[in-house]
Amino acid sequence: DAGITQSPRHKVTETGTPVTLRCHQTENHRYMYWYRQDPGHGLRLIHYSYGVKDTDKGEVSDGYSVSRSKTEDFLLTLESATSSQTSVYFCAISGLAGDLTEQFFGPGTRLTVL
């Protein structure tokens, strides 16, 4: 158990509303990631962080922003949710003891945008 939690686990919201998903880790991993999982696409990287206040874009970053003010927390914000952002979102961590090979995933957040 890599000590990674996500909140909320489920959320239903309406188009145009802001949404923030939280990822929390207790393992002091340096790297944190946000992915979305959609049928036929596998997992696609949205944003990642390589340290406090150090973030960068992944392959599907449009419409999303992130923040990392503490090592243990990585927030994903949808500024104005759209139906195309209905998905399952996973947070992942890596980098303990410098090993970046394996990423550990959280349990996921199922987001529905109506």
């Binding site: 696409h41 980098g95 394996e102 990423q103 995933f105």
Partner: protein, 112 residues
């Protein structure tokens, strides 16, 4: 442009037999390949990995084979068990970086 492809969306095998899951890639810059297993309503969990300089890695019932010339890797599960029923994702790690590129997954069903 899919850099990692899993062309079989599903696979069904009998308990005790071998399961072979396949993955193809296009990016020669991958230095590691990883397999993850995912149960419904849970996050993916790491299963096994292989360095691009190796051609085989084995861990218990799980073996991953890498054919660099064909840009192909496969995961063998022997013997298959009903608890192995899950979605399996392969992923390539970009050379010396933190990014994983995932395939679309293969759903494995092991029939009792």
């Amino acid at each position: 442009d899919q850099q990692v492809k899993q062309n079989s969306p599903s696979l069904s095998v009998q308990e005790g037999r071998i399961s072979i899951l396949n993955c193809d890639y296009t990016n020669s810059m991958f230095d590691y390949f990883l397999w993850y297993k995912k149960y419904p309503a849970e996050g993916p969990t790491f299963l096994i990995s292989i360095s691009s300089i190796k051609d085989k890695n084995e861990d218990g019932r799980f073996t991953v084979f890498l054919n660099k010339s064909a840009k192909h890797l496969s995961l063998h599960i022997v013997p298959s068990q009903p608890g192995d029923s899950a979605v399996y994702f392969c992923a390539g790690r970009m050379d010396s970086s933190y990014k994983l590129i995932f395939g679309s997954g293969t759903r494995l069903l092991v029939r009792p």
